[in-house]
Each structure stands twice: as C-alpha cells, then as structure tokens.
C-alpha cells in the first residue's frame, strides 16, 4: 500500500490531498473538501499527464522559432525526453497553426503541433 501527497489545483483553496494506492489503483482519497478534489487525486496519483508547450526552430522564417504543444498530453515523467526531441527539431518555413511538426514524440504517442503560424522570411 502506497500513500501519495498532492496539492489540489481545482480551486484556490489548494487542499492537501492524500491518495492511498493499492496495486497501482487509488483506493482512497482524503483531505479533499469536494468531489472535484477526489477526481483530481485519482487521476493525478496514477497517471499524471501534462501538456508540454515550447518552441521549435524554424529555418527561413520571419522569426527563429514557432510555438508548439503536445497533442494529446504526455506523461509527466516524459516531459524532459519530449523536450530533448523538440530541441533537436528544425522545420522549414512557412508553418501554419495546427501543422504536425513531429509525430509520436519520444515514443509517447503524442504529436508536436504548431500553435501559431510563421511566414517565410521575404
């Protein structure tokens, strides 16, 4: 049986949550003051996921970088491998918002998607 301490992010109260896990499953949540806290703890204790937002180098664009995000979210413990892959990537201009710049980043199954466009330098 494992216990995990979490801070709830559902509202400004920031309840200190304690999730009890058995065989990788949350069996009990305490410290929450509302059902949203329990739901958050059940998710966060087992498989915390995050959107990674960063920027990707662009060759020949009006700016050197374009903003990107991972779609869908990636496991929290894969953030740095994802960042390494994003850092190594260079794409040619132009880029359009929504373009998939890299598929299955760092083996997470998520794509790196441009969140803004970037024109070619004149």
């Amino acid at each position: 049986m494992d216990e995990m301490e979490l801070t709830c992010i559902c509202c400004p109260i920031g309840c200190g949550l304690r999730a009890t896990l058995e065989a990788g499953q949350v069996v009990r949540v305490t410290g929450n003051t509302c059902p949203r806290g329990e739901a958050y703890a059940r998710r966060e204790a087992v498989s915390p996921m995050r959107t990674v937002t960063s920027s990707v180098a662009v060759e020949g664009g009006v700016r050197p970088v374009v903003p990107v995000k991972t779609v869908p979210d990636v496991p929290k413990d894969r953030i740095f491998p994802v960042m390494d892959a994003i850092r190594d990537l260079t794409v040619p201009a132009p880029v359009r918002a929504g373009d998939v710049l890299l598929r299955d980043v760092a083996g997470t199954g998520a794509d790196v998607v441009a969140t803004a466009g970037l024109d070619k330098a004149p």
Partner: protein, 485 residues
C-alpha cells in the same frame, strides 16, 4: 599610433578637452577604457550646472565652476543639447543656519556669482511653494542650471570627432613609458604615443598620475546614491533645492531634470572600491529621508530607478581639482579630483587644458574648426507638419520603439550611427532615452537589442548592456536556422 596630444578618459572632462583640442592644429586622440563615452563619474551625478557659490574663493573649483557655468548656455546652444537655467535654492532650517547661508553668499560674491539673494520664509515659499514649511529661509542663485550630462558629453565627443579627434574605446592604459620626448601609453588596444598626455581618467586618474609623477596623489571614491522619479511628478518643484553643505559635500538635493523627471540625492560615503557603484538600502533610505526634509510631499512611490555614482575625491578636506602638469612629468597634464563641480567646470577646464597642451606642442589656432554638431533629429520636438514630412522621407522615424519616452527607430539608428556612436544598450539609452522611462526598458529592450545586433553585425548574444562582460543573453534557445536569422 602617434598623436600630438592624448587624452586619457572620455568622460565629460576628457570629451570637453578633446573638443577644445580640435580648435588647434594638432592631432588629438582619446583613450577610453570603456565601450563608450560617459561611462564613469560623468554618467551618475546630479546633472547640475552649479552657480559656483560654495567653492572656496581663490580655488580652482571656484574659478572653473563660475567660468564653466558662464560658458555652458552658448555651448548647449551650439551643440544642440538641453540646458535650463532653473535657479537653485539653499535651504536653512533654523535661524542658526542663517550664518551658513551668509557664508555661502559671501563666497559666491567673492567667486563672481551673479544675482545671489537671501530669501526669507515668505519669499522662499512664493518662489517654491512645495518646500518644507520648516525651511526658515534660503539662498537663491538664479544662475544655477540643469543639463543632461550624457548628451553634453556625447555632443562634445561628436564635435571633437567631427573636427578630427580620434576615439579609441576598450583602451585601458596599463603602463606608461617615457620614450625620449614622448609618452608611450600601453593599452589593451595597442600602444599610443604623444608628447603631451592629458589625464582625465576619473577614478583611475590617481593611479595613472602616480605612474609618472614624483608627487603621489590619493583619490578616494566617494559614493553618491540617487533616486529618480517618474516624469508624472517632475513638476513638483522647479528649482534645484539644496540643504546647507557639509564637510562631505553639497548634501542631498532635489531637482527637476532637463527631461522632466525629478532627481534626489546624493549621499556621500567614502568607499575603497573604485568600482563600487552599487546602491544600498541604507543609502537609498537616507536619500529619501533627507530629500523629504526639503520637500516633504515627495512621492517616493514614484521612484523609477536608483543608481550610485563615484566621485574622485582627493584625500583631505576642502580639497581642490588637481589641474596642470604633474610634478616631474613634463607634458603630462592632470585633470583629476574632478568631483563636484566637475561637470559644471568641464567646458572651462577643457579650454584651459587644451590651451596648455597647444602651447606645449606649439600648435596654432585651427581656422577650420566647426563649432556645430551634426544636427540631431528629435521628431517629438518638430511641428506635426515637419514630423509628418520627416517620416515621409525617413519612415524609421515613424516607428516608436520605446513607448514610455516615445523614441523612434530612426533616433536609435542615429545614436548607433553617430561618431562616436552607441555600442551597447546603455549607449543607446544615454543618447536617446530609450529604456529610461517608467518601464525601464521592459518593452523596448528586445527591440533595441535587435537594432544593435543588425547595425553592428553581431549576433544578439554578443550585444552588451554596457560593454565588457555585460552580455545581455546566454544565447539562442535553438540551433540557428537558415536565412531567417
């Protein structure tokens, strides 16, 4: 490289001297350790052209202050820099302090300061309603003025350069040798030779002097801390307001600046480190407390920046400027210990040193000297029609880069392209005021950085705040792509 006269230091004294030297037929060179003019004592002071009432009669300070103050209006006109004769008030807070005012009045009259007048409480309040009701009376000096030390120094340097003087930056003097009739100055930028050297090296001037002279001097860095207030409150007072001077100097003043801010300071504290331009909590507290004694309503929540400057104070009380040939060093002329009123005195000191140097190298008057300065374009000062016409011809004056001070791209490009021009963020700031407003460069810094990078042909990570190791950035976050860079 060989010159007839070498000036060491491109502060206000060095640049005034360089400018005056070009009025003679001689080759003048300026060696500056920093990356730009006006990077030492000249950049952090009260920006006052003092009337000259507090220097000891007969002293060099008295003579050159009064003379400098007399020269300044015409100089400002011909170089096209801001100057405003706003008058000064020295406050007395008790009848006992009246003796102090009378002493200043006596000194001032002996020094030849015109228009001095003692004011009683009522006359004082009439002239400056915001002064403390505790002020019992004041000495009024109508000839006291305010100036922009950056623009003054840069303008004199530009005039010198336009008339043939050459500036060498990054040229800190590391050794001095006598080679026959010449002085050989080893610097980081090579060796320079001249029969006449003028030591205007500010806080480094003592060390330089001691390399060549048999009579040693000791300059003590005297720190002065200041706070600058937002232009929104710049109109609170119109005069430069002093308290009675103390052993350590003129004390904390409150003054408007030519750009409409309000400045308060300085403290006076002798320090050991000639590079210790850091402010301190105690110092800033003292500035605020002392300034509030003169003007109780000062809105200190309107401080936009604080800074400290170091004056080169020759050891000892009532010390004077050290001007003229260093004992045992023929042709090596000092201009050191140029603490207050060094800025006020600079034009007169420059003329005096240039004349001495010209005599030593037997130079004659340069008849082709041009006293003007290539015109500075200030769109905000033009009529709407003129400004519109300017932008039609030069669109870069239409794009505002610094929102607080409303400085256009054109003005920033001018600052970089002038000679000597800005090489750093601070160099641009001092010349154009971009980054000097209430957001202190938060908005314009990335934009000015881009312009500097483009104009100087350097990658952004090599652009500095103020030369040397003051790089602004670590580097690009990603490896650089193709033409986009």
């Amino acid at each position: 490289m060989d010159y007839d006269v070498l000036v060491v230091g491109a502060g206000v004294t060095g640049c005034a001297t360089a400018m005056e030297l070009t009025k003679y037929t001689l080759r003048a060179g300026v060696l500056e350790a920093g990356e730009d003019v006006c990077t030492g004592t000249s950049k952090a002071n009260s920006a006052i052209v003092h009337a000259g009432f507090d220097a000891l009669p007969g002293s060099l300070k008295a003579r050159f202050n009064v003379e400098g103050s007399r020269l300044m209006p015409a100089l400002a006109r011909r170089l096209d820099i801001p100057y405003r004769r706003n008058g000064a008030l020295v406050l007395a807070f008790s009848p006992e302090e009246r003796a102090g005012l009378e002493e200043l009045l006596r000194r001032g009259r002996a020094n030849g300061v015109e228009g001095l007048e003692l004011l009683d409480r009522q006359a004082l309040r009439q002239r400056e309603p915001r002064v403390s009701p505790e002020a019992w009376g004041a000495l009024y000096a109508p000839s006291s003025a305010i100036v922009c030390p950056f623009e003054l120094t840069a303008a004199m340097a530009e005039n010198a350069a336009a008339n043939g003087a050459r500036f060498h930056f990054g040229a800190r003097v590391t050794a001095v040798r006598r080679e026959g009739e010449l002085w050989a100055l080893e610097t980081q930028a090579g060796c320079f030779r001249a029969p006449v050297v003028i030591n205007a090296a500010g806080l480094g001037g003592g060390t330089l002097h001691n390399l060549v002279s048999r009579e040693k001097v000791s300059l003590v860095p005297r720190k002065g801390e200041y706070c600058l207030l937002d232009r929104k409150v710049g109109g609170l007072v119109s005069h430069t307001i002093f308290q009675l001077p103390t052993r350590m100097g003129k004390g904390v003043l409150v003054t408007p600046t030519v750009h409409g801010n309000l400045l308060m300071g300085p403290t006076a504290l002798d320090v050991e480190d000639p590079l210790a331009t850091d402010t301190t909590a105690a110092g800033l507290d003292r500035v605020i407390q002392q300034a509030r004694r003169s003007v109780p309503e000062l809105p200190v929540n309107r401080v936009i920046t604080s800074f400290a400057g170091l004056r080169a104070h020759p050891e000892g009380e009532e010390s004077d400027f050290i001007l003229g040939e260093a004992p045992g060093a023929p042709g090596f002329l000092d201009a050191i210990g140029m603490e207050s009123p060094g800025l006020s005195a600079a034009p007169a000191v420059g003329a005096f040193l240039a004349e001495s140097a010209a005599y030593l190298v037997r130079a004659s008057v340069n008849r082709s000297y041009d006293g003007s300065r290539p015109a500075v374009c200030r769109p905000a000062e033009l009529s709407p029609e003129e400004r519109a016409e300017l932008i039609r011809r030069r669109p870069e004056y239409g794009r505002i880069v610094c929102r607080c001070e409303q400085v256009s791209e054109g003005e920033i490009l001018d600052a970089i392209r002038r000679c000597p021009g800005a090489r750093s963020l601070d160099g641009v700031k001092r010349r154009t005021r971009a980054g000097m407003g209430r957001c202190q460069g938060g908005f314009c810094m990335p934009r000015v950085l881009e312009l500097l990078s483009r104009e100087l042909g350097l990658p952004p990570e090599e652009i500095t705040k103020g030369g040397g190791g003051s790089r602004l950035l670590w580097g690009p976050t990603r490896k650089r792509g193709g033409e986009g860079e």
